[in-house]
Symmetry: C2
Amino acid sequence: MADLGDSVGLTTTHSVQLFDAAHPLVLASGERLDEVVVAYETYGKLNADRSNAVYICHALTGDAHAAGWRPGDRRPGWWETMIGPGKAIDTNRWFVISSNLLGGCQGSTGPSSINPATGEPWGLDFPLLDMADFVTVHRALVAHLGIGQLHAVVGGSLGGMQALQWALTYPAELTNAVVIAASSRLTAQNIAFSAVGRQAIMRDENFLGGRFASEQTNPNVGLAIARMMAHITYTSEEGFQSKFGRNPQRAESSPGFGVDFAVEGYLEHQGETFLARFDALSYLYLTRVMDYFDPFAVKNALTAVIDEPVRFLVVSFDSDWRFSTEHSRRIVRHLATGQLPVTFRDIRSPWGHDSFLLKIDSYLNTVRAFLEARSDYRGTSWERS
Amino acid sequence: MADLGDSVGLTTTHSVQLFDAAHPLVLASGERLDEVVVAYETYGKLNADRSNAVYICHALTGDAHAAGWRPGDRRPGWWETMIGPGKAIDTNRWFVISSNLLGGCQGSTGPSSINPATGEPWGLDFPLLDMADFVTVHRALVAHLGIGQLHAVVGGSLGGMQALQWALTYPAELTNAVVIAASSRLTAQNIAFSAVGRQAIMRDENFLGGRFASEQTNPNVGLAIARMMAHITYTSEEGFQSKFGRNPQRAESSPGFGVDFAVEGYLEHQGETFLARFDALSYLYLTRVMDYFDPFAVKNALTAVIDEPVRFLVVSFDSDWRFSTEHSRRIVRHLATGQLPVTFRDIRSPWGHDSFLLKIDSYLNTVRAFLEARSDYRGTSWERS
């Protein structure tokens, strides 16, 4: 990882119970969860006046382990390109907090956790979630860590949507929001891709109405198919073409229905490795939160943030067709109606939606500069490009 | 169908055995099929000098029933927009032949036909097919009908690829080739989408290594998932958005994991109806032919057609992202190296790849004008736009 600069080094995933029967989590739907555990990591040091905290929101299949190495890791955290000493989110300067989402499957409470009322995994009895619920849990973790105000909330894709939600609903608690490769409103095509992935999972013979964990099985076929299909949408046609073209998987083409083209081998690998790290129910719950997310359709959506302006950085990638540049432009247009300070950058990259995870200097430098800019300014200004 | 003009009316699907043990079909791979039946329809009348025949090549999931109505039909043939009295392919003028593909499942021999050697459905023992094999069978049908020279071969998507193959390999047998929304070389992304669809089918618990028919079952889950996913790629994001947006399926949204958005209901319907009309093995075989198709990579690919030039019309649709305009431009560039007469049109349409099936006047008028132009000119000329 030499070209990425120093790593934050060895990291530890912590676990904390933030809600319990005496202090349940009340969801946007009105339903309650009597037990919510959250997995999180932190990097860097909180300064004396507790003013240097940056909260990382992960994407659909991310987790709390955003940077550095845990014992036994074969690769570093998922945002190692972004977070570390001297990196764009500089851990010499910022105290970075990264948590696994409510509804996730990497240490935080989710639909495959045990339902305390039954002693069995929740399955589809787990309540439907809303983007606001993620923010509620993130805020509880921030409070638990004794922090009153965040320097920034930063996220890509679903993570960017959380950052946007947080900024719109609790603007006084963050100074900056970095919304990368995100959307404020999925299109019919966006929903369609997620819907087919969910159907692949739910129609898998081993899904068993969501009770697969209790039955010691797993909807492996459906989950792998969902992942393979989604992965196509995370890469650009251009990126796929330059990486694989029509190259054969082996030295010579072997026509038939097995893996013959290299791109087929790659997708199979993506599907396979995903099974080891992701839960089918989390896939359903988290994708559905994105489908329903539509924050600017809420009445008086901008009222709070107009009163307490947050500085926004909105970033898109020009080859991203999962959440295209137009999705980011729409966010910018909505924020602009409130005369909020918004910087918008459309980054040239051939790698599609996944660009937000990659080492692209113009992108990383943009995030760094934004976070390190004099940040006590809270009026309305224009920094759009 | 009033706005489409007159229909060819009642049609009949014929069936003819074109190859038998004494005259087997020798495939491009060298393998043989001792029994090949082909389903076909014809519209219009063959003229006295047998010079007005137009051959229609269908796309992946098409069949011989391109136009008109068969008894009991709830909708007309799949290219009713294109073929009929007074239409672009005018059955008052042309004798139109449309056949189901070798490897298909609508009356022509395919992998779910009975293997005469075993008395059981072929399954995955059916030989792998090549675009050239389709042409071999089409030519046999033309000969069977007593026709020596075709006025034109016309096809969209996979059908356009067949038209291209035919023109490159047997140019003396056709005067015109109309290649619509096709590709001469799938990209990694194109292959990826088909690969995931095939994986959904082959990993279905009821696929049974391709022996599902013998076991009286069907890989319904995988086939529906493959169709739903593919359908997303046949429509443009713009088309999906204007048709469905974020509209709910019912009067009010009912959040959960069922069909809630209208686009979800549409996809479910697409998957469901597909099961009634298409065979999972045909899906594997026909998509794989497209993956491997790469006619300009063949040595001396243009030699034959340079000797006997065919007039080409190449048509793309500007919102088609399955086989984008660039695919058509590539075909045109290759043909241009042979100084062949090529007309290229990129048609404005918001409906993506499926545009080739729709009533788009500028498109239909282009096809009509091309087919009706003085067609005895066989030299090199340029009609590119």
